[in-house]
Symmetry: C2
Subunit: 343 residues, 2 copies
Amino acid sequence: MTKNILIAPLAALLAPLLAVSPLTAINAQEPPKQQFPSPNAIVDAAPASDWKTVAARDLLVMDLIPDAKGEPRRVIIQLMPPPFSQGWIGNIRKLAAAKFWDGTSINRVQDNYVVQWGDAGYDNPESGETEQKALPEGLVEVPESEYQVTDPSQGPINKAMMAATNSVFVAQGDAPEPNFLFDDYADIAFFDQGWPIAQEFDSQWPIHCYGAVGVGRNLSPDTGTGAELYTVIGHAPRHLDRNIAVVGRIIEGIEHFSSLPRGKGQLGFYADPKKRVPIRSIRLGTALPDAEQPRFEYLDTESEAFARYADARANRRDPFFVKPAGGADICNIPVPVRRMKTE
Amino acid sequence: MTKNILIAPLAALLAPLLAVSPLTAINAQEPPKQQFPSPNAIVDAAPASDWKTVAARDLLVMDLIPDAKGEPRRVIIQLMPPPFSQGWIGNIRKLAAAKFWDGTSINRVQDNYVVQWGDAGYDNPESGETEQKALPEGLVEVPESEYQVTDPSQGPINKAMMAATNSVFVAQGDAPEPNFLFDDYADIAFFDQGWPIAQEFDSQWPIHCYGAVGVGRNLSPDTGTGAELYTVIGHAPRHLDRNIAVVGRIIEGIEHFSSLPRGKGQLGFYADPKKRVPIRSIRLGTALPDAEQPRFEYLDTESEAFARYADARANRRDPFFVKPAGGADICNIPVPVRRMKTE
């Protein structure tokens, strides 16, 4: 009976925390730390029905030449779903089908910023000019207006409204909008179809988080074709949002980018062309033989498991932590993506 | 005269932007882009009086063994000023004076998270136990309460108050608190003595941004001695704020950390001890001969140049940008630190 007397005060003490975390069942038989699983433990315990398959046509498989020790270097990119950046993504599918990137290279590695790849050009000794590979036919020019998607049916949601909720991350299962976050770069940020999205008034756009893949371009009004791509390898450069198209994210192998030597030229370009890292090939997932097609799944961002995961990221209560943060920025809640188990 | 007629409407059009950026002088002789210098251009143009010297006793000079090509790898760490984390920093000065880290190693490189170094221990084949180097005498045990500094003279500033200003980053020269930012992890964030700091009610604490150096520890109530250190090499892991001591930041050479191969063991530890990167030495700046002491300076975060720089980071209007973000999180406004020019 002594034990039971202790349970009630403990539950009462924890109630303010438990209110935002529907999963935490009080169990007097377990030490307290068991009541607060880590974000990863929540993901691991998510039911199979909470995972959604990534279609092979939404994957790019990139093979760099092997490293100095002969180890293969494969990087997998997931492309964004509609309605975001589809003009550029159509181009990218065509570029991959045309094997455009085969024999091009990684040309820029800027610390805490980006790794960039594409055709570095060929210095023709006869003409004295730098020549570039011909682009495949059928690429479209995408206007700047497509950096964001405007949907007048979306009501304006502003910071003051969110502040009124007095909660940076609200993950209650019964809240009408469980995944809205404060955001320094927009009115709000949230997850849509497994992707971090920002919104201001009736416009939405994809977010530059770690691992995001974007389209290099020249000065405005150029928006880039998709032939020149980069990925984020540092703190989220959110000032690029709405200024460059985000087309995807790296879901496996980013360490083959992030651990490359930094370029010593301006903006982190390799001053010495010999430092460039050759790309052997980039293929759409569907271009690979069936048995070799990569099979990935992501945790449904509408699921209860994701809400619990996001809440745990914003309020770490697993044993290592002394003080839950009480919030998170959206790039600190990476959407779980994993290889599907093969039967 | 025609030119002068054009100036007025242009100035009127730009007024809403100019209001937050005191530097931008309208000059009809210049093309428009010259009116909006990049953040780096603002820093480069800052007067010498806006730069503050970093004392040599606040620097740690870390030499890894040379890389595979025989190139030296030097990393410079700046320690935090009072009142933050001084207990651990006192220990760190003692550890450096005792040459504790010489012959230890980098043992962990976790992608988008941290690089960690210290004594990995020695597996004694006779005892079958892992033995660790003796710590120097005189290290203090620092309580968890020192993860933050509490100053009851600080008034509570909350998100709702900040929301009422309707501005994420307010850099007007005449605003009473020019450097306050919204923050997902605290009531506000701001810069103090050149460092990013968060505040909630009357407590302040240092922030885990890219390059921040912190003190590894075991489970609470352990707070670590300072013998085991890590640095952030990814998106700011703000959930660590107030959970681990931040003691400094890397101001030169972080690429020697961030480009290391990622560890394949749990949490990014090198599963194979041979992958560890030996540390040749870590010394306080003052332990080096006068002529070799590193001399750095940082842009005074109270200066007008810094306010303009931060405003420009939050509202990019230099030629590449189409859409200024209208805000920034504090880790996306890195404090400029540079080597002093030798006369």
